[in-house]
Amino acid sequence: MPSMVDRIEQIEAGGRQAVSAAASAAELEEVRVTWLGRKAELTAILRGIADLEPAERGPVGGAANRTRKALEAQIEERGAELAAAELETGLVEDRIDVTLPGSPARAVGHLHPITRTRRLIEDVMVGLGYRVMEGPEVEHDFYNFTALNHPEDHPARMLQDTFYVDPAGPVEAGDGPRDVLLRTHTSPMQVRAMEAAPPPIFMIVPGKTYRRDSDATHSPMFHQVEGLAVGEGITLADLKGTLLAMLREIFGPDREIRMRPHFFPFTEPSVEFDVSCFRCSGTGTLNDSSRCGLCKGIGWIELGGAGMVDPNVFGFVSDSGYDSDQITGFAFGFGIERIAMLRHGVGDLRLFFDNDVRLLEQFS
């Protein structure tokens, strides 16, 4: 008959095999009960050690305890293995459809294209050393016309072109029924700013302006940016350089500028300025040799008016240190909508004030 120790070795071999074969946590538990449970042979051996011959007790007891520990360790190890595998299986089964759309985060809103364009222009001009200032929209005739060298009977002063404010209403009425108006340009701030501070001045004035006109290219309310640089030694060439730097920031580094002599009451010399077309690179012709629609084949896009501050305007602020023999300066103005329309291909000015979210949400 084989010795008890041999039998224990057989049990250990059998037990190990059974543990390895266990394919699930449940099976492993069965294995544990079979080989280490109360009714297991090894448990019986351990329980019966006291009944053995004293000489056998040591070797048998030692072998049985080692085997039990070995099996327990192996079961634990196998249990961990099985748990990990089962977790994996479970995860694989716990699948979701990753192709469904995500639950939306709080939607991000959109700034109005006029705000975005205004900020772009402000940032460019701040980089060139300008401050941003704002002036009143309900304005005195004095600032809007008189001090900007418009003669008493200038056509722009006609009721057909300019919105006048009822002096009987709640306004600080001035000198007569036509004193208060909605500013027709941002230029009144030229005079306000010069009244308020001696030269030099480098400022831009973005803001709303109003004219009595309404169609696809004219809106009774629109936005302009005014620029004013006044000091000693400022020239028309500086105006050209400044506008060129600004337009290159807005429309791209390859742009050129063109200045055409023109007439405005409050600048002399006066010019209109154009930027070379960014769609056809100023050639007027597209790659497929068709005529460029953006610049209408001219290669240049008209943007705004500018010029050297007229000595008569300085005359209105001579108290504040502006002597046209000492001080020169340039001013320019252009429409914010015009820039936005060109940059974003919006064809109808009125769309900007319709505020349809389908337009607004295109500009992020």
Partner: protein, 818 residues
């Protein structure tokens, strides 16, 4: 101003393609809208023909079969014009020629007779606006077969100039010729008025007398008389120039007045002298209710201030604008009184606007002409009357004038041009430029002394105007360098308020709202629809005297109307989600004129007429979030929008509080006043359902605050670091049952006040109504956090503060819940 190229070239031919000249004009200050062509697109194929035979068509009454000599032999041409006859010199379009309307002439059979071309009318050639038949040229004008373009302005380029209002000289062909000379250097012919002066007075005074009652309105009135006038159509060359310049030929007398106006810039008016009783004319202001029938056949009512040329019986012409039919030149006219006057420009502009009547004459007069031009026009017209109408000139000229304005001398200082333009132009070049432009120039050391010609009298009045003239004709576009202001030490930047305003706008954008830009004007009924009534200043808007329409006739006093309108429009177009904001101005009565839109006055010595405040407002209706498959979204409620408002405040470091408030357009139970550090900024609430429904909206939340106050409260950029403590807090929760009308804000304020310095944070974590709580009560659960900076707090230390909190809650009528 339409300038036929060949007409200008008679005085100055720069030898440039019209397109190239147009470009140079545009770059020197005279915009050219386009270069148009008169006549057929290609003049080849149009030749002079002589009709040698004109017989009737065998099968068609109205057609003639003609034999026409066209240089290379006779051609048979079928012609439908009633006036065709043998011996006529005509224009023939040969097969292959393309007509102005795009039709190509082909050999064709007309009712069985082969026709090899077409005899053309003025209209068919694009040379006229009406014709009674074919164009019949002067006999012997040119040999048969001569290209028609050699004798007719068939290939005429027309420069359509957009002349700036200061350049009255360029409203004339000769003025444009002078300009072409100045910018190209091509030679300029002497002006057409050069020659002997017309003597004032003389025989004419026996047949014409003029009284000017208001010399201020009429600084000069000249008149000449012509007898033995034969009214007839003008010669073709004159007609075709008029047509090319956009004028309709009428008869030789009227055509001459138009021709001279186009050439010299001075409008003229011809009266039938026999229809001016006694040849007496009086210039005076109109009398209230006076009427005149003008040459266009319309009877017009006149107003005082409008200046008239009257005969003994009443108005004969509206000065400078349009003549009257009473003494209109007609086929039976035999003597003519020719007026060339100078009118006060602004008055002409005003009258023409009031009458809603603009003419070529008024367009020139309204810009103010120099009196010297009147005489020039009389000289040129006088010659033409003799040549074309066979008229006899009555010797002399009636001239009622306040005298010529004093001649103007200006100094152009050396170095001034460079100082303004930033580019050097040698003094000789400066002098040459000004001379070419017609100025008198004399050297005085390094300065130039300039005499201004009449053509530029009202335009060039100062040294700076000369600088501009010198610059623009000296290739400014090519020569001007692009520089930046030298030695500028200007530092650019946004002001603190501007930076914060952007942050506030960005913050609303980030909460999912879209920015709108609303109209500054609104309809005067808006305040009433929002139930805003006096004495609320928002009920008294700034009002326009001349709005485009009633619904844009007052300036808005709140942004709410713009937002409601935009929400309504978007929803009606099927928008899913409407969350909008606006950052814009409102216009309030001057009575409380205070700061500018962002705080601080507008610069300048005169105060702004109205109080313009920058507001920030938002409006939400429906869910704030976009739709999703995973859950159902709820429409935004008061607290959703309040969250947006609080986030706006947090973005600027300003804790915003809301206390119950009142606005006429808000749900009375869901209406709050927004405050920052105790001062009121605006309102938040649910739009009153009855008001919302006026804009077809339901469940609509909004707020509006004044931006300046918010920005002022912001510590942004000025924050001071506070060390944080490592010691743990002691948290205690409390639930208090309290009357429903006690606002949560009051509870929080009382707790914070009572908690003392150890109470560092208080938050509401539950509000409960229902089972176990009386109907008019609620339970508010608060979490209080106590902490000291320098030690771990013991319960014993917290207890006094805790007791103070409890008694404060009891002071509000609350009792602690189990």
């Amino acid at each position: 101003m339409k300038v036929p190229y060949s007409w200008m070239a008679e005085y100055c031919d720069p030898g440039l393609e019209p397109g190239v000249l147009a470009e140079r004009l545009a770059m020197t200050g005279t915009e050219v809208e386009r270069v148009a062509r008169v006549g057929p697109p290609d003049p080849s194929g149009f030749v002079i023909g002589v009709v040698s035979e004109a017989g009737s068509h065998p099968d068609a009454d109205r057609l003639s079969v003609c034999q026409v000599e066209v240089g290379d032999g006779l051609r048979t041409i079928v012609c439908g014009a009633p006036n065709v006859a043998a011996g006529q010199t005509v224009v023939v379009a040969l097969p292959g020629a393309v007509m102005p309307d795009g039709n190509r002439i082909r050999k064709a059979k007309l009712r069985g007779v082969a026709s090899e071309g077409m005899i053309c009318s003025e209209v068919e050639l694009g040379l006229g606006t009406e014709s009674d038949g074919i164009m019949v040229l002067e006999e012997g004008l040119a040999a048969p077969g001569t290209p028609a373009a050699e004798v007719l302005a068939l290939d005429e380029a027309v420069l359509e100039l957009e002349v700036t209002p200061n350049r009255t000289d360029c409203f004339s062909v000769y003025g444009v010729a002078r300009e072409a000379q100045a910018i190209t250097g091509a030679e300029l012919a002497p002006p057409p008025w050069q020659g002997p002066e017309v003597q004032t007075g003389g025989a004419v005074e026996a047949v014409v007398s003029v009284t000017v009652e208001d010399p201020e309105m009429c600084p000069r009135f000249t008149a000449r008389a012509f007898t033995d006038v034969t009214i007839a159509p003008s010669p073709k060359w004159l007609q075709s120039r008029l047509v090319a310049a956009g004028q309709r030929p009428i008869n030789n007398v009227v055509d001459i007045t138009n021709y001279v106006m186009l050439l010299t810039g001075q409008p003229l008016h011809a009266f039938d002298l026999d229809l001016v009783p006694g040849g007496e004319l009086t210039v005076r202001s109109a009398i209230e209710g006076e009427r005149i029938t003008t040459l266009d056949g319309i009877e017009r009512e006149l107003k005082p201030g409008m200046v008239l040329v009257c005969d003994r019986n009443g108005p004969a012409a509206i000065a400078g604008i349009m003549g009257g039919s009473v003494s209109e030149v007609s086929d039976s006219t035999t003597s003519v009184l020719l007026e060339a006057a100078t009118w006060k420009g602004p008055n002409i502009l005003k009258s023409s606007r009031e009458l809603n009547l603009r003419s070529e004459a008024s367009a020139r007069f309204e810009k103010q002409l120099h009196p010297a031009l009147a005489e020039r026009a009389q000289i040129v017209a006088g010659k033409l009357f003799t040549e074309i109408c066979g008229a006899t000139v009555v010797e002399g000229m009636v001239d009622v004038s306040v005298g010529m304005p004093e001649s103007r001398e200006l100094k152009l200082r050396g170095g001034r041009v460079e100082r303004i333009l930033g580019m050097e132009i040698a003094i000789d070049e400066q002098a040459e430029a000004l001379e070419r432009l017609g100025f008198g120039v004399e050297r005085d050391g390094s300065d130039l002394v300039i005499t201004v010609p009449p053509d530029r009298y009202f335009d060039v009045t100062r040294e700076i105007d000369l600088v501009e003239e010198v610059g623009r004709v000296n290739d400014l576009d090519r020569r001007l360098p692009a520089t930046l202001p030298a030695g500028s030490d200007a530092v650019g930047g946004l002001s603190r308020q501007q930076t914060l305003q952007r942050r506030a706008e960005d913050s609303l954008r980030e909460t999912g709202l879209n920015e709108i830009v609303g109209w500054s004007f609104t309809d005067p009924g808006e305040a009433a629809r929002l139930r805003i009534a006096a004495p609320d200043p928002r009920a008294t808007p700034v009002t326009l005297s001349n709005p485009l329409s009633e619904d844009q006739s007052v300036m808005r006093t709140t942004l709410l109307g713009s937002l409601l309108g935009a929400a309504q429009r978007n929803l009606s177009r099927g928008a899913e989600r409407v969350g909008l904001f606006e950052s814009g101005r409102v216009y309030l009565p001057a009575a409380d004129v205070g700061p500018g839109p962002l705080g601080g006055d507008f610069p300048g010595k005169r105060r702004a007429p109205a109080n313009e405040l920058q507001h920030l407002a938002a409006l939400v209706t429906g869910p704030l979030d976009p739709p999703s498959w995973s859950d159902t979204r709820e429409a935004a409620d008061f607290y959703a929008l309040k969250g947006v408002l609080e986030r706006l405040g947090a973005g600027l470091g300003v804790p915003l509080t809301v206390r119950p408030g009142e606005q006429p357009f808000l749900h009375p139970g869901r209406c709050g006043e927004v405050l920052a550090s105790g001062s009121s900024l605006g309102w938040i609430g649910e739009i009153h359902p009855a008001i919302a429904s006026e804009w077809d909206l339901v469940n609509c939340l909004a707020f509006e605050i004044e931006l300046a106050g918010l920005l002022e409260a912001s510590p942004l950029g000025n924050e001071v670091y506070e060390d944080f403590t490592p010691f743990p807090p002691v948290d205690r929760d409390v639930a208090v049952v309290i009357a429903d009308e006690v606002a949560a804000g009051e509870v929080l304020a009382a707790v914070r006040e009572a908690g003392g310095p150890l109470l560092v944070d208080t938050a509401i974590f539950d509000v409960y109504r229902g089972k176990g709580i009386a109907e008019d009560e609620k339970s508010i659960a608060l979490r209080l956090r106590f902490r000291a900076a320098d030690r771990t707090l013991s319960d014993e230390e917290v207890d006094p503060a805790w007791k103070a909190v409890v008694s404060a809650l009891e002071g509000l009528g609350g009792r602690l819940r189990g």
